[in-house]
Structures are given as structure tokens and as C-alpha cells.
């Protein structure tokens, strides 16, 4: 069955990169431009994996992850966040909010693919 990935990032080029890497491998990608948009899309679709940026306008990644985890449908759904720094404190806060894992920018497509496979059975 096709797995659906919700990709939340205010940067169109980041979304595009993620999409280009994963769509050719048969994943279905839904895009959202920030946390609020992401929440709206998450409510209307069954999502198997969420990949989100942290620093976004309107609703940032931490708040978004936290809100997702409050929804019963999103218990157990893996959530990845994308971060620039290897900032331990930020990482810890994101995990506290409920994130499953992270990707450190810049990442090679192979890394994204590997992590995606790791999280999606």
C-alpha cells in the first residue's frame, strides 16, 4: 500500500527536494507550508510519516508536533523534524514535543531515504 508522507516546510525548495527523493520511490507526498497548514492537512488525511521543519511562520515545528501528538490518530505515527544545527537542546525539545527523529540539514537524498525506510515498515 502506498505510504503517505506529510512534508511541512515553509521553504518550497526543501519540500521539492524531499518530494523528488521520495515520490520516485513510490511514496505519496502531501505538502504543507507551515504548522497550521500541516495540522489542517493532517486532519483530513491518513498520514504514515510526517517530516517537518522547526522554524516556520504562523506555527513552528515544536508547536505543530505537540499538537499532532494530541490527536489520537497521530499516536504512533513517526514524526521527523529537519534542523540545521546539531543543537542538542533543540533536539531534546523537539523530542519532548513528541518527535520520533530528525534530519540534519544538509542531508543527502540517501539519508532521507534511509531514515524514511527505517520509520515506515
Amino acid at each position: 500500500m502506498t505510504k503517505t508522507i506529510l512534508c511541512v516546510d515553509d521553504s518550497a525548495s526543501m519540500r521539492q527536494t524531499i518530494k523528488l527523493t521520495l515520490a520516485v520511490r513510490g511514496y505519496r507526498i502531501i505538502e504543507a507550508v507551515d504548522g497550521l497548514d500541516g495540522l489542517g492537512k493532517a486532519e483530513n488525511t491518513t498520514v504514515d510519516l510526517v517530516i517537518t521543519d522547526l522554524n516556520m511562520p504562523r506555527m513552528g515545528g515544536l508547536e505543530f508536533i505537540d499538537a499532532l501528538r494530541q490527536m489520537s490518530e497521530y499516536k504512533g505515527v513517526p514524526i521527523l523534524f529537519v534542523t540545521t544545527e546539531s543543537d542538542e537542546a533543540l533536539r531534546a525539545r523537539a523530542k519532548e514535543a513528541g518527535a520520533t527523529g530528525w534530519l540534519t540539514k544538509p542531508f543527502a537524498p540517501e539519508v532521507l531515504l534511509k531514515v524514511t525506510r527505517r520509520l515506515l515498515a
Partner: protein, 704 residues
Amino acid sequence: MNILSGDPSDIFRQEADELFVQLETALLDLETAPGDKETIASAFRALHTIKGSGAMFGFEALAKFAHHVETVFDRVRNGDVLVTPALVGVTLEARDHMRRLIDAPGQVSAGSGDAILAHLDRVVSGQENPVCARAASPVERFIPSSPPPPSAKVSPASSGYRVRFTLPTNAFVLGTNPVTMIREMLEMGTGTVRCDASEVPGLDGLDPEQCYLRWELELFTGQSMEAIEDVFLFIRNETQLTIEPFSVAPVPALDLPLEPLRELPVVDSGSASSLPTSSPSPAASAQSGKPPPIESVIKVNSDRINGLMNQVGELVIVQSRLKQIAHSSTEELSVVSLRAVVEEMGRLVSELRETTKGIRMVPIGSLFSRFRRVVRDLSRELGKQVRLDTRGEETELDKTMVESLNDPLVHLIRNAMDHGIESSEARLAAGKSVEGTLLLTATHVGGQVLITVDDDGKGLNLERIRAKAEERGLLAPGAEISDGDLAQLIFHPGFSTAQAVTGISGRGVGMDVVKKSIDALRGSVEVFSQTGEGCRVVLRLPLTLAIIDGLLLKVGEERYIVPLSNVDAIVELADAMVEHSGGDGNHFLFIRDELVPFLHLRDLFAVVGEPPPHEKVVIVVVGKRRVGLVVDQILGDHQTVIKSLSRVHADVKSFSGATILGDGRVALILEIDHLIEFGQHREERLREALHPSGRRVGHEILVR
């Protein structure tokens, strides 16, 4: 354009454009409101994304540079560093540098970037208390190394590991799936798995969301211990994990023969070179010295796309109705139902046209915001204080039009600041405020967009314009001309009144360049000046370039289109009213107390044969100038899809393009500006011939 096939680095360039605008806007806002948290956050976000995405797409130098600036702004955000004019200034410089790093990375010397960063550091350290000085983090630390390539330490022979792990109890809730992790480890080689479920409580105490299990793997693999540990990367701290190498030789007793080891792909740490694109890398394109062309992308409100989908849906329904009618037998065929379908189709097509037009529309504010920087930099260069006000930023205009307006508007702004607005001393002496004001406005008027550039400077120097015009032979010495008409002469090719060539606007190219570019957009430009009080330039532009509402005319056997927005009035040319005047049979109409020259298109286009008894006159207008066009017949309005003429016809001035009519014929679109000029020119010649003194012609024809 197919979004999926788009090259991400092209999209990045596009996005970078927006980010640079966001950064610049924020910085300029900070000049007036240095403490605004939102604005600081916006600048920080822009820098952050430029850095992150830049690194993704191989713009290493950009990412490194942006990181440095971002670090400073992170401290600004935290209140460690204050926003000062010096900081804004150097950050604007940094922004320009980053822009160059994207546009022409090959031409940027490394030293220039370092100089800006050094300047930035000086600005920051200048306001620092040396005791609590925390230097900006070293640039070297920037790109965190990605996890080491798993295959980096592949031992030549397969070795055995015993892996025991207990996941945190909330692992399931947080989306960690032990099955995929185990699978990933097994894919490194071969092995066995054992699950320890002894901790699972009885049903009464069971929380189904909790993880009570432990696992133990015996793994034979060529991969390193680090590679195995890497599987637990995300939960390394929360997981109880032990990995012990086997001292015993691998037991091939596991009923499978050992297969050749599977290799994981070598992970290229961080470089974007392995992105699945075939575009030239930024470095390669830099050699050509030019930024690669960016595919034009428009952001469209999804409501508009939905509307479009609805209309297309309706169109499909109408089409099937049409098909049904076409296939019905002659007896059933009803003209009434056919007409109904045609009407419906007409409505849909015009709705579709509006929606599609809307898709190409962008608010002009994006263009206006670019000028803030132009004004800021220019006022420094000229030593004048100038404030830019803008109004009507939300006015929407065709995207291509917005882009083509940049250069003419920059030219007008430079002109106003250089020649219009006076120095502070002169302003004070004239009793004006020290700060000059430049006002940019945009409004919709009918099917047109009006853009005005106002300044409160000294206005045009009409005497100098007259002197120059006479010197250039544009005006007969001592000729009578209204101030308004005199002012328009600045748009005449080659006209430039600047006495000294400054680096800003007096570069030998005058306002005629502006006029030419506005003409190319099928718009018009006019200037209004009030000596001592200021100057206003008005640009009138059509909303879109592709489709216009036209008036379809017939002259002889040919059909012509006049843009409806240029049509002022249509009158009947009654036989009795025609009075030939002078040698070349030119006429004037008296309309709304004004003398309007008119042209017989039959004569102009050398149509043979007799004209019909009731000719019509279409009065067309551009700005304030009007001319009448005598035609055989008015056929009605026509939605005109403009097709440009081929290069063979590049010299044809009377027509701006062509369109294809419903019956497949071609109709030429009249170039109104040219016809008006032609008509007025003839009027002047005639006036001179009849009344060399310049008095008004007496051969007026009163209409109605």
C-alpha cells in the same frame, strides 16, 4: 510548467529572491523601528532559510556566509546585540553579497565576503561589553557533519555482534517501530532475533500504548559497530543498548549459507551533488558568468485554481450537450437549444478568461517594496533626505507586466530624486520640510492600472525644456505651446536636460527610454509638473498583455481591432457635415468643446472602391490626446487574443499585433499611439499651412 519536474535549485533561486526581499524589507523596517521583535524574527528566519536551503543546493559559500550573519541575528533576537543603523547598513551589504553568491558565484572574490563579515563583527563587538563578550561562533563549526558513512569502517571479514536493546516505554506512541529497526539490522548481514516478553504485564495492568518488550539479536555483518548503533540514532539516549562483538567464530549452523555481504550505499555526507537532477551545478554555471535562467513561477491562491477547475468542469458538461445536439437528427435539431448552449459556452469562456487572467495577476506591492532600498541607497548617495510612501500595494497586475515595470519605475524614481527633489538646504530655503517625499501609488481605473510617481521637489524646469527642445529642433523657436504639452517633450527620444551627467540618472538616456518600455506594454505615460511644488508621472497600463477587449471595425474588405480601453466615443459621419479643408483633405471634429483631428482609414490603408454612405468615426484616446478614425462599419466588441506580428513586420508601426476571428480571418490590431501621433502631426502641418501664425483652424465640423 510541471512542478514535479522542476529543478530544485531553480526553485531555490526563486525562493531566495523572495527571502532576499523579506530580509531587505525587514532590515529597512528595522531602520525605523529597531526594536520590533516580529521584524527581527522575520530577518532571522530569512537568513536561516537562506543558509539551510543554500547548503542543501550546493551553495556552500552562501551557506557559510549566511550562517555568520544568522549567528549575529540570533543574538539580536536574544537581545544580546542591538539593532543600530550600522548593523542594518552592513547587513544590507551582506544581503547584496549573498545575492551575488547566488547570481554569479564565480565572480565574487572570497575577500569581499570576509571584509563584510569582519565589518559585521566590528559593528557587533563595538557595542559589546568586553567582559561578557562572546565572539560569534566560528564559521568552521558551521555544517555539522552528517553521521559517518556506515561503510566507512567496513571490516574486511564479517564479524558477529550480540545486540540487546530495550526501547523507551513511550517508543510506540512516538512513532518508533522496532520491526523496521530490526529489519534494518538484519539487512546488514544475517542473524537471529529473540524477543523477551517477560515484562509484559497481565491484561488488567496492560497499557496498550506502552512498549514492554526487549530484543536480542545475534548479527553477522561486515558493518561496523557504529553502523549498528546508527540504527538507534534517534533514541540513542533513551534506549538501553548494548552491542558486544562475538568472540566466537560465526556459526554457519544458522541454516542459511552465508551470502555475499550486502552493501549499503555509500552515504555522501552532506553534499548535494548527488541530488537527482541533471542541472549544471552552481559552480559550473558560474563559469559562464551568468545566472542560469529561472523558470518563471507564480504563486496562485488556491481559490482561483478551484474556481478554474469548476469552470472547466462546467465546460465539459456544455461540450457534451453540444455533442448531443450535433448528433441529433435533422428533425430534432433545434436552433433554440443550440443557441442556449452557445450562450452558456460564451458565459463560461468569459468566466474562464477572467479566472485565468486572475491567475497571472500578482499584487504590485512586491515591486514597490524593492524600491525602498533604491530610495534608501540613493538618498545616501545624493545626500538628500527622501522618504518613500507607497499606496495601493494590493493592486493586482499581470505578472509579466510587473516585471517589466521595474526598470522604468527605477528610472522615474532616480530621476525624481536626482533632478526633482532639492537638497536639504534648498528645501529649507523654499520653506519645505527637510525630508523630500516620493509617493508611489497604484489604482485600478476601468480596465487599466494607473501608477503614479509623485515627488514634492521643484518641478520641471519648463524654460530649460523649451530651450533644449528648440535647440534640438523639436519645437519651432518661439512657438506657442501649453506648459502641459511642453512638459511631455521630455519623453521625446534623446531629450535630456541634465547639465551634469551624474552617476544616477543623467546617463544620456532620458525619459524616452521610460516611454519606450511603457509603450511596449501598450501603456502610456504623462508628466504633470507644478513649478516649485513637485512633479507627477502617470503611467497607464492595461491589466494584461495577452487578451484585450477590442472593438471590431470594418474598412473595405478588411477587419481591424481597436482596444476598447482606447475608445472614447463613436459618432456618425454624416455626409452633410463633411467639409473638406485645405489641400490634403483633412478634417476636424468638434467634440466636447475640443478640436479633434480625424483620419480616413480608407485613405490611410489605400482601400479601393467607394465608401459606404454612412461612415462612422471612432474617437480614440491616449491620455489627453484624441483622434477620430473614420471606418466603414462597426461590427461590435470582440475578445481579442493578441498574436504578435512576425519579425518580417517589425517595422510596421500602424499595427501592434493581429488576432484570429471566429471565421478564421485575421484582423489587425491598430496601434493607437502611432495613429494619434500621425493624426496630430497632420493637424499641425495643416495648421501651419493654413495659418502660419498658429491660430486655430476655422474649418470645424460640428457634430450632433
